[in-house]
């Protein structure tokens, strides 16, 4: 063999090991800085498992994950062990020039390692299929029908009547105490998914489930949040790239007990009959017109007098797309000082904005981060 190497294998190996050790130690220090090593290690091991599922369907998927994980872990340990053992055991000894036995194959071994993996994957397929038939079913009479409407970059949730034909109430705000998808624990909910524009995906990690929201197609699935999860909130977000605001397309799922849910929904259905809030007192300023059209504000600069409350007459010309107007200090990422009600177009609403000190503000649509303008208060 012609090789330029003067350094023996041991020297090289030491060198490589030193680099590796330095890196691993350095990294560990970097990550664990401030927390303790054992806890980080535990978290890393438990992280190989999905979160505890909060729906009956999710629990089934988690059980299936367990089986797939155990089989994969066993194969991993066996094969990786075999690789490492082979490499360590059959290294060429210095000066050993004998030729190893030239084995070209072994029929029995080859049949075994074809047939056994085939049986394993068929087993995995069968149990996956069985679970699929349990978690992806549709009942004729779900106990609650909800429709999630996804649009760039906003979720809204329509609560439907028992026959699924009438919208009883629409939850426009996808997150927060008063927003989010409120669901009854212990009842089967059928969720229909419709998109207003591009493909989105409804994903709640603790459901261990997601389904795409495809324009031109109505998808649906059913879930039942376990009784014991009543009172809990679960994060959800869009899982299919949908444009510049993909990452902000968040929502929350609030689980209530069945009775609480009935009360909540009844109260929400009654709201349209409530009286409007009183107009703020004090010296009144002018009324400013703002129009949203084609996911843009038509006005890029508006101005208002300092120290006087004023009105924004906001017209949303985008059919089926929700917009609002929020005012933030300085720039679009500044502190929010006002946020108007979010509503679907085509419609018009008047916001009463409290008095603001003089300065420069940005007005934005909270759903569409690309919609911004400047408000000068003087």
């Amino acid at each position: 063999m012609s090789s330029s190497q003067r350094s023996g294998p041991s020297q090289t190996a030491t060198f490589a090991l030193a680099i590796g050790a330095a890196l691993v130690i350095g990294t560990l220090i970097a990550i664990v800085a401030g927390s303790d090593l054992l806890k980080a290690g535990q978290a890393f091991v438990t992280g190989l498992y999905p979160p505890i599922a909060v729906t009956d369907q999710g629990a089934q998927i988690r059980d299936l994950y367990t089986i797939v994980f155990l089989i994969s872990a066993a194969i991993f340990l066996l094969v990786e062990g075999l690789i490492i053992w082979t490499v360590v055991r059959y290294r060429r000894k210095p000066g050993d020039d004998t030729l190893p036995a030239q084995t070209h194959g072994n029929k029995i071994a080859e049949i075994v390692w074809t047939v056994v993996p085939t049986l394993i994957v068929i087993f995995l397929f069968v149990i996956s299929w069985q679970t699929l038939n349990v978690v992806d079913t549709h009942s004729a009479e779900p106990q609650q029908r909800i429709r999630a409407v996804a649009g760039q970059f906003q979720w809204q949730f329509d609560y439907l009547s028992a026959d699924g034909k009438t919208i009883l109430y629409t939850q426009l705000v996808p997150t927060g105490e008063d927003g989010g998808m409120v669901v009854p624990a212990g009842r089967t909910v059928q969720l229909t998914l419709v998109s207003q524009d591009v493909i989105h995906a409804f994903y709640v990690p603790q459901f261990l489930f997601k389904r795409d929201v495809v324009p031109g197609r109505v998808n649906s699935f059913e879930f039942k949040v376990s009784d014991k999860e009543a009172g809990q909130t679960f994060r959800g977000q869009c899982a299919e790239l949908c444009g510049v605001g993909h990452r902000i397309m968040l929502f929350e799922v609030h689980a209530l007990t069945g009775a609480e849910f009935d009360t909540w929904l009844a109260a929400k259905v009654a709201i349209p009959n409530a009286t409007p809030p009183p107009t703020p007192s004090g010296e009144a300023g002018p009324t400013i017109n703002v129009t949203a059209s084609g996911v843009k504000f038509e006005q890029t600069t508006i101005s208002a007098p300092a120290g006087k409350h004023f009105r924004i007459e906001f017209e949303n010309k985008d059919a089926g797309t929700p917009h609002d107007v929020a005012i933030r200090e300085g720039s679009a990422t500044g502190k929010e000082v006002f946020k108007g009600e979010l509503f679907n177009g085509v419609a018009k609403k008047t916001y009463d904005v409290p008095a603001l000190p003089a300065g420069t503000y940005a007005f934005v649509c909270t759903v569409h981060p690309t919609m911004t303008g400047t408000l000068t208060v003087q």
Partner: protein, 542 residues
């Protein structure tokens, strides 16, 4: 081995540059492919570093949402279409004619044209950065997001992307025809199909895949272009089109493309493992049938990328996806059995081949999770999938490519590479790779979706993201010893001689680098290891 140089007439314009630009020599074209691929590997790598830097901590610190979408879109586009696929085609170009004892590819001028389309396509893609934004709808460019829509932010960059991909596709198709004709018509006397090196076999199967699949994605690209520019309505549901149709056509190519990206890398390590174990490949014929099996089954699994669309017949694609792991598993055992009771010479090419085995194993196993439809409902479009695809394409293809590079560099240049620096490269890359991509399994399980520029600091993803970023920078750092090694070896590497590794196949029977038209004289070919037979005599009855 004695060789005589073929006398060459002086090139018309005398310069080295002119010589390389106008060459039709498969070896020079192969090297051009490899250099071009490395250029885009580094550009794609920089974009990946951009992505990892932004994700190191919660908060949007460095880039806008728009730039972020462009970065991961172009990262994948460069890595898939201008790095892995052409890199393997480049090695195939260099190695296949040598290994079958041919003087050149069957169509040398078409070969040159296939190559020169690639830098052109690369320039088109890069143009997006200075013409108001590149494609930003992900490398999958799902419609209707990739159609002209106000919030998709896909401007002219998306059109450049379509044109560039159509060019690269044409280049692949021409290359595939060239490989098929070369392999079927230009083998040396005695080189029967079942005496061909595995590298040649994998290029053969890959070429069939390219030929059958690439026209299909080209049709999708053309339809997308018409939808965007001429008022078509193939994929826009608002105008009577079907967005799922795009996904079906796209994945009909792009799933076989995974095998296009990994089969030749499997071929490379199937050359390296026997040579550095000093044993024949275990189960040569079984290996060929497994390769052909993967190629055939590869066309029946595309919709496993679409399990969550609600528009797929799930059991069929699930069972086919499980089954395709069987021939892959067979290969894994064949490789291990090749090393078993061998005499392993732990040089850099073998280290990378072992890296391939141990990492591709993980890429296969975590793929089984996604084949299980209900589990995929949890994992799809999360970072788990990012982990899976990188264990296959980086842990598999890139480790294979690096192994192949260290293995054939002496043949291409006549110089040996430095072993110590090569080992440092391997160790750094191996550690960096696992630090980057292993934590992504956990991020995915914890619910972090792909393709988000930022995440909440309370979601519990902070530590793992930081870890992955540290790993990303480690991979980037591993490129320093690699580049240093290339520089050092080109300048002052030890002379390689014809056959520095005691190789088995015909490329080692000529000088390093080989002369134009490759061979003066060929040894007798009576098995898949003609050079081994020459040294030690036959050991099989084939």
């Amino acid at each position: 081995m004695a060789t005589t140089k073929v006398r060459r007439t002086a090139p018309a314009y005398g310069s080295t540059l002119y010589d390389w630009v106008t060459t039709t020599d498969h070896k020079k074209i192969g090297i051009l492919y490899i250099i071009n691929s490395f250029v885009f590997f580094f550009i794609g790598g920089l974009l990946a570093i951009g992505v990892r830097t932004e994700l190191a901590m919660p908060g949007l610190q460095f880039v806008t949402d728009q730039t972020y979408n462009e970065m991961f879109t172009m990262h994948a586009t460069f890595m898939i279409f201008l790095f892995v696929i052409p890199m393997l085609a480049g090695f195939g170009n260099y190695v296949v004619p040598l290994q079958i004892g041919a003087p050149d590819m069957a169509f040398p001028r078409i070969n040159a044209m296939s190559f020169w389309m690639l830098p052109l396509a690369g320039v088109l893609l890069l143009l997006g950065f200075i013409t108001g934004g590149t494609a930003a709808a992900g490398w999958t460019s799902y419609a209707p997001l990739s159609l002209d829509r106000p919030l998709a932010s896909t401007g002219s960059g998306q059109d450049l992307w379509i044109v560039a991909l159509a060019l690269i596709g044409t280049s692949s198709i021409l290359g595939a025809i060239n490989f098929l004709v070369t392999i079927f018509k230009m083998r040396a006397p005695g080189m029967t199909l079942f005496r061909m090196p595995i590298m040649v076999w994998t290029m053969l199967v890959t070429s069939v895949l390219v030929l059958m699949a690439t026209p299909v994605i080209t049709s999708a690209l053309i339809m997308l272009f018409i939808d965007r520019n001429y008022g078509g309505s193939f994929f826009d549901p608002a105008r009577g089109g079907d967005s799922i149709l795009y996904q079906n056509i796209f994945w009909f190519y792009s799933h076989p493309a995974v095998y296009i990206m990994v089969l030749p890398a499997m071929g490379m390590i199937s050359e390296i493992l026997p040579v550095f174990s000093r044993k024949p490949l275990f189960g040569y014929k079984a290996f060929i049938f497994a390769t052909a099996g993967i190629g055939a089954l590869g066309f029946s699994v595309w919709a496993h990328h679409m399990f969550t669309t609600g528009a797929v017949y799930l059991p069929f694609f699930s069972v086919m996806t499980f089954l395709i792991s069987v021939p892959t598993g067979v290969k894994m055992f064949n490789w291990i059995a090749t090393m078993w009771r061998g005499q392993l010479v732990l040089k850099t090419p073998l280290l990378f081949a072992i890296g391939f085995l141990s990492m591709f194993l993980i890429g296969g196993l975590n793929g089984a999770f996604s084949a299980s439809v209900p589990v995929d409902f949890a994992l799809h479009d999360t970072y788990w999938v990012v982990a899976h695809l990188h264990y296959v394409l980086f842990g598999g293809s890139v480790f294979g490519i690096m192994g192949g590079f260290y293995y054939w560099f002496p043949k291409m240049t006549g110089k040996m590479m430095n072993e110590t620096v090569g080992k440092a490269h391997f160790v750094l890359m191996f550690i960096g790779f696992n630090l980057t991509f292993f934590p992504m399994h956990e991020l995915g399980l914890a619910g972090m979706p792909r393709r988000i520029a930022d995440y909440s600091s309370t979601a519990g993803w902070n530590d793992l993201n930081l870890l992955a970023t540290v790993g990303g920078f480690t991979i980037a750092a591993s490129m320093l010893p690699f580049l240093w090694n290339v520089f050092l070896s080109l300048r002052s590497g030890a002379p390689a001689g014809d056959d520095p590794w005691e190789g088995n196949t015909l490329e080692w029977a000529t000088s390093s680098p080989p002369p134009a038209y490759n061979f003066d004289r060929l040894p007798e070919i009576r098995s898949e290891r003609p050079l081994f037979d020459l040294r030690h005599g036959r050991t099989d009855e084939r």
